[in-house]
Amino acid sequence: MTNSSIYENKKTGNVRKERSYWGDVVHRLRKNRMAMVSLVVLVIIIGLCVIIPAVSPYSIEGTNMEKQYRDQAPSSTHLLGTDKIGRDLFTRLFYAGRISLGVALAVVALECTIGIVLGSLAGFYGGIIDTIVMRVADVFLSFPFMMICITISSVLGNSIPTLILVLALLSWPSIARIVRGQILTLREMEYMEACEALGISDVKRIFKHLLPNVLAYVIVYATLGMASVILTETSLSFLGLGVSPPTPSWGNMIQEARDIIVIKSKWWYWIPPGISIFVSVMCFNILGDGLRDAIDPKMKR
């Protein structure tokens, strides 16, 4: 038989190259230089955000009102200078990164969970469940996004948990649609029929057998979703509706530099958070695109 001869090759030293599905994905991703650079940059940013409290000599809210410490341009003691109440902006920048990236991660995790559960139930059962879930999704998608955010944060107050909840609740429909669409095609596959013929329960069939097949798409969506949530959170914080000071976020750091004089003469107030937003959003987008190409090479053309 042909297969046994392939196995025999192994004994003679000709190792058969064998990769799993994910092995293939990683291999293709590694050949994508742009995506790999983005990944490295993201790892650096996230790494700095994680270690900043341990390595920074300055505390996050430690103000220093003495004149020589306020409004300082970048120097060797304050890498990115200080603000008008004497806080070290380098430390604040990466604290803000923790908040911005953390919020983005929490939102994406939450919306994916909601989206996956509702999307797979809708796709698997079809019929009335599908109709209900997808119509609710349509309703959520037709909300004017900013208005809802403004309304909710003015009613509930703008704390970080509320922000996460609002963003996740408003964005689950897109992932639910993706998952539902995939499940609709996958549930007709013969292996799902074989599963049913083995007596495996519905819940196990959905979450153990179907979901792993959808995971690739969810990962791509989640990566691209990170970028869009960072942007949304930043704009909300800039408008004073997201993360509120003194807790820093990239958005409200830029907001603090809204003054025309600051923009003109004190670039260290707003250029670093601006670049952080730009770089991290771009990296997440490139990485997401790279993952998509790696997962489904046919989609590239």
Binding site: N3, S4, Y7, E18, L198, G199
Partner: protein
């Protein structure tokens, strides 16, 4: 002989916007213990729906079990609870499907897929099930089972996958194995190997097989008895020998005549004139009446009662009822 499975007057219908499709209409048959029953018929004649109905695998809606009984060891499959039917699936009744390339979940290793039913129905731990999976792979004659158990399906060829499917289906030693065109997608040499394997394992675990195919050659090789279906109806049931030597229903006669024969030199194959009727719009009476060369007036009004000839040979055709020309 003891009957393992007895299906009485099964009616599985599909309700669509265009009307009712009677995919299995008043189907009755039985399978003895240790026996292989072949089901033949052209595409869309209801053989798959009949076999799926046995473990209640037809999707409802659009399908519906309108009537009848499916008795497996006296237990009616159409009446048991959802939980009970899940216990029966994979444990008492197992299925092998046509397409080995898509019948295995691409994201799981072979071993895990075989283990699953063992863990579910036999209550084995993951480790025990893993070891048992290797044994099963060995049983279906896969070389290097210790390696294949950790392979993903894409690493196996079609024949190997179908073997793995058989290992999965037989893992819990079911009493009834339903094979829905298991060799249609395989090439002829692999087909012969898989058929031999099925026969061998059937003896080993003392199972009965329902073998669905449209390949008469495979039927003659595998089956003890044959049931011929046409447009949702059973038209003839007989022992394999009888069917080939002495086919009686005009449809069976046409089917067997259409089989290419190496010994004759005719350059054209025999065909049954006409097409399978639209299941949405069946003719009244016998569905074969539109293509039958012996058609009589009463064929167009009502489906004939079943006639039993020579003790075992069941035919549903007016030619053999009272007043029929061959009676």
């Amino acid at each position: 002989m003891e009957k393992l499975l007895e299906v009485k007057n099964l009616k599985t219908y599909f309700y669509s916007e265009r009307g009712v499709v009677k995919a299995a209409d008043d189907v009755s048959f039985y399978v003895n213990k240790g026996e292989t029953l072949g089901i033949v018929g052209e595409s869309g004649c209801g053989k798959s729906i009949t076999s799926m109905s046995i473990a209640r695998l037809v999707e409802t809606p659009p399908g519906k079990y309108v009537g009848g009984e499916i008795l497996l060891n006296g237990e009616d499959m159409l009446k048991v609870s959802d939980e009970r039917i899940r216990q029966i699936r994979g444990n008492d009744i197992s299925y092998i499907f046509q397409e080995p390339m898509t019948s295995l979940n691409p994201v799981f290793k072979i071993g895990r897929q075989i283990s699953e039913s063992l863990m579910l129905h036999r209550g084995m731990s993951q480790k025990e099930a893993y070891k048992e999976s290797i044994k099963m792979l060995e049983l279906v004659k896969i070389p290097n089972p210790e390696r294949v158990v950790d392979d993903y399906p894409f690493a196996l060829s079609g024949g190997m996958r179908q073997r793995a499917m058989i290992a999965m289906a037989l893992a819990c030693e079911p009493k009834l194995l339903v094979a829905d065109e298991p060799t249609t997608a395989l090439d002829v040499t692999i087909q012969a190997q898989v058929l031999d394997l099925m026969n061998e394992l059937k003896e080993k675990i003392d199972a009965s097989i329902m073998f669905i195919t449209h390949d008469l050659g495979v039927i003659s090789e595998m089956c003890d008895r044959v049931m011929v279906m046409y447009a949702g109806k059973v038209v003839e049931v007989a022992t394999t020998e009888d069917i080939f030597k002495n086919p009686r229903h005009p449809y069976t006669i046409g089917l067997i005549a259409s089989k290419p024969d190496m010994s004759t030199k005719s350059s054209r194959l025999h065909v049954i004139p006409g097409n399978v009727p639209d299941l949405n719009n069946l003719p009244a009476g016998c569905p074969f009446s539109t293509r039958c060369s012996h058609v009589m007036d009463k064929c167009k009004t009502a489906f004939p009662e079943e006639v039993v000839l020579d003790g075992q040979h069941r035919i549903a055709c007016y030619l053999y009822t009272e007043g029929g020309s061959k009676q």
